[in-house]
């Protein structure tokens, strides 16, 4: 079995030190022009008491080629989409077009200061306005703010919009009795954290054995009269479309609450169905998921908040509007929740997302969704004989399996994930959603072809076989990466969160 695998071979750059350990006194990697004004003694410009007196000791001193080699070597230790399938469920790791990168680097955008007077930034504002229009059409929700910097930020914005809307609708006193946010047990952790930031307390809704929101439980919780809203991911984090979504919205609306949809899984819906048509009041999108802006090892993102006409007055300011062919900033929204970020948000991500939408076209967007769902369905079909699939409904763009069969041999989800690395794949999302024991959430996206899907299925089936025949091989994986499994417990007990010079480290 092992001999069939194309494994990672011993690494060509195993020992790149920290830059601080490479530093050599006096080395430089830059040159500035000579100072072209008469130099004054610095203490006559800034009083001595405000001047740095540590001479920046500890900052690295390296040459340009040192820096290049340092980062190029380190980069080879990363797995990335460009190398292959990156099936992290719920993260939508799709191809990042280089064309979008080029657009974001056009000097007219890249060199534009955010406080430029609007007359001298019309092109930049036009991009914001156009993207707002496109996202309104895609979601079926007309009010759009592009200010939030990431999904969780968009969630916070959306939930605050709900809070301010209810405050205005019911008055402060009545609104104070409506402080419960309902969140399914399968939700992303950001949902309860965002609800908390907006002053809500969280009640958890159970999922049914089918993996859908439990309507009876929802009705029961709504009967209390204290419900401000529901935060629902759709398709949910089990990859299943909440087919009762209209009824769900109705129940919440009848109870005086609003429905927030976590749009993390919009990659299953673009061009096929629109949250606005389902009765949803407000959602956030993740431009770095659905609209292909790069994840960059953890960010940046961009988390537009999209809402109904009714909620629009509560969106963050400023809003970008078009008046007589001119784009303007409108601050005149007295009911707005306020500003959630300086300037306009992660503008560079907006350029990339608009370029993605325009290069795909309406038909391309729909086809991408179809391919994403087809690929997930294909994987579901290919793995069902070897892994436990806890829910029967056909999955949308991602599918959840568990380690139930393998764990009988002592092989768990973590081990399967680590073994997948040996087969040249990035592992799937593991142990999420929390309600599924030993969850493996697989999202192939539309950016893989059938050949790669077959390779992935084959790798997973081979691991299932290994778990029976040679569990130790799986338990000790990965085998030939630059480092093995790290002792995370020791790291958390005595955290070392920064480099320190040797002498200082022993002294303290």
């Amino acid at each position: 079995m092992k001999s069939n695998i194309t494994k990672v071979t011993s690494h060509i750059n195993p020992n790149e030190a920290l830059i601080f350990e490479r530093s050599q006194t006096g080395r430089v990697g830059y040159r500035l022009p000579a100072l072209d004004v008469d130099e004054e003694p610095i203490a006559t410009i800034v009083p001595q008491q405000y001047l740095r007196d540590d001479d920046l000791v500890g900052l690295p001193e390296v040459s340009e080629v040192d820096v290049i080699r340092h980062f190029v070597r380190m980069s080879t230790w990363n797995y990335s989409i460009d190398q292959g399938m990156y099936p992290l469920g719920s993260c939508t790791m799709k191809y990042n077009s280089r064309l979008n990168e080029k657009v974001a680097r056009i000097p007219g955008f890249a060199n534009l200061h955010p406080l430029t007077e609007v007359e001298n930034a019309q092109g930049a504002l036009a991009v914001i306005y156009q993207l707002q229009q496109e996202l309104a059409e895609i979601t079926g929700l007309p009010g759009i703010s592009l200010q939030p910097a990431a999904g969780a930020h968009g969630e916070m914005t959306g939930v605050m919009v709900i809070r301010s809307f209810i405050d205005a609708r019911d008055g402060e006193e009545a609104s104070a009795k409506r402080r419960t946010m309902l969140i399914p047990d399968s939700a992303h952790g950001t949902n309860p954290a965002s609800a908390h930031l907006s002053g809500f307390s969280v009640k958890t809704i159970r999922s049914t054995a089918e993996g859908l929101t439990d309507l009876e439980h929802l009705r029961e919780l709504c009967a209390g009269g204290d419900v401000a809203g529901l935060m629902l991911t759709n398709p949910n984090t089990l990859g299943l479309f909440e087919r009762n979504i209209k009824e769900i919205c109705q129940i919440v609306h009848d109870a005086g609450g609003l429905v927030y949809m976590d749009g993390a899984n919009m990659n299953a819906l673009v061009g096929i169905a629109r949250p606005g048509d389902m009765g949803v009041d407000v959602i956030h999108l993740n431009l770095h998921k659905t609209f292909s802006t790069p994840h960059g090892g953890g960010g940046p993102g961009c988390g537009p908040c999209c809402c109904s006409k009714e909620l629009e007055p509560f969106l963050p300011v400023p809003r970008v509007v078009q008046i007589d062919e001119q784009f303007k900033l409108d601050f005149n929204y007295p009911q707005s929740i306020g500003r959630v970020k300086a300037f306009f948000g992660n503008y560079g991500m907006m350029l990339r997302a608009l370029a993605y939408i325009q290069t795909h076209g309406y038909d391309g967007l729909r086809e991408a969704t179809e391919a994403a769902v087809l690929n997930a369905r294909y994987i579901a079909n290919g793995l069902v004989s070897d892994y436990e699939k806890p829910f029967n409904d056909p999955p949308m763009h991602e599918v959840v399996f568990t380690d139930k069969r393998q764990s009988r041999k002592g092989v768990h989800t973590l081990d399967i994930a680590k073994r997948l690395i040996d087969y040249g794949f990035h592992p799937m999302t593991i142990y999420f959603p929390l309600i599924v024991q030993g969850a493996m959430l697989i999202e192939p996206t539309e950016s893989v072809g059938r050949q790669e899907l077959d390779q992935f299925i084959e790798a997973m089936r081979s691991i299932a076989q290994e778990a029976i025949e040679n569990p130790e091989l799986v338990l000790s994986a990965p085998h030939d990466t630059r480092i093995g499994r790290l002792d995370e417990a020791a790291a958390a007990r005595k955290p070392v969160l920064r480099w320190k010079p040797k002498q200082a480290a022993t002294a303290s």
Binding site: Y431, E488, A489, A492, R493
Partner: protein, 130 residues
């Protein structure tokens, strides 16, 4: 099988109590530490803090989970196991000994009588894992 000493009292939240005169020593069970995995951090109250029965007095963290710990008895904290700050792993290696967490001057010594015995706790954990 988890170690469940006969001479202790147990709660359904997986704490144990050793009553000695009016003072109760509290920790988490072997079963609990097993479920939690490698303990990396223990958050404890201050001496002098007072808690009601079954109120949370602190938390235990593993790498990827955090659980509140409840005091099965009410009373005032008279001592905490400060050595857990530097060596939280004692909760894993010696849950009933060096891994103890707090000592409580009980305001109602009768509370321990309503706790589970070792045999009852064993049945309880079995039922829970099934």
């Amino acid at each position: 099988m988890a170690n469940i000493p006969d001479d202790l009292h147990y709660s359904k939240d997986h704490e144990w109590v050793r009553a000695d005169g009016g003072v109760a020593t509290v920790g988490i069970t072997d079963h609990a530490q097993n479920q939690l995995g490698d303990v990396v951090y223990v958050e404890l109250p201050k001496v002098g803090d007072e808690f009601g029965a079954n109120e949370p007095f602190g938390s235990v963290e593993s790498v990827k989970a955090v659980s509140e710990v409840f005091s099965p008895v009410s009373g005032e904290i008279v001592e905490i196991n400060g050595s857990l700050t530097d060596s939280p792993e004692k909760v894993n290696t010696d849950p009933y000994g060096d891994g103890w967490m707090i000592r409580v001057k009980m305001s109602n010594a009768g509370e321990v009588d309503s706790m589970l015995s070792a045999a009852e706790y064993e049945d309880f954990t079995k039922a829970e894992t099934e």
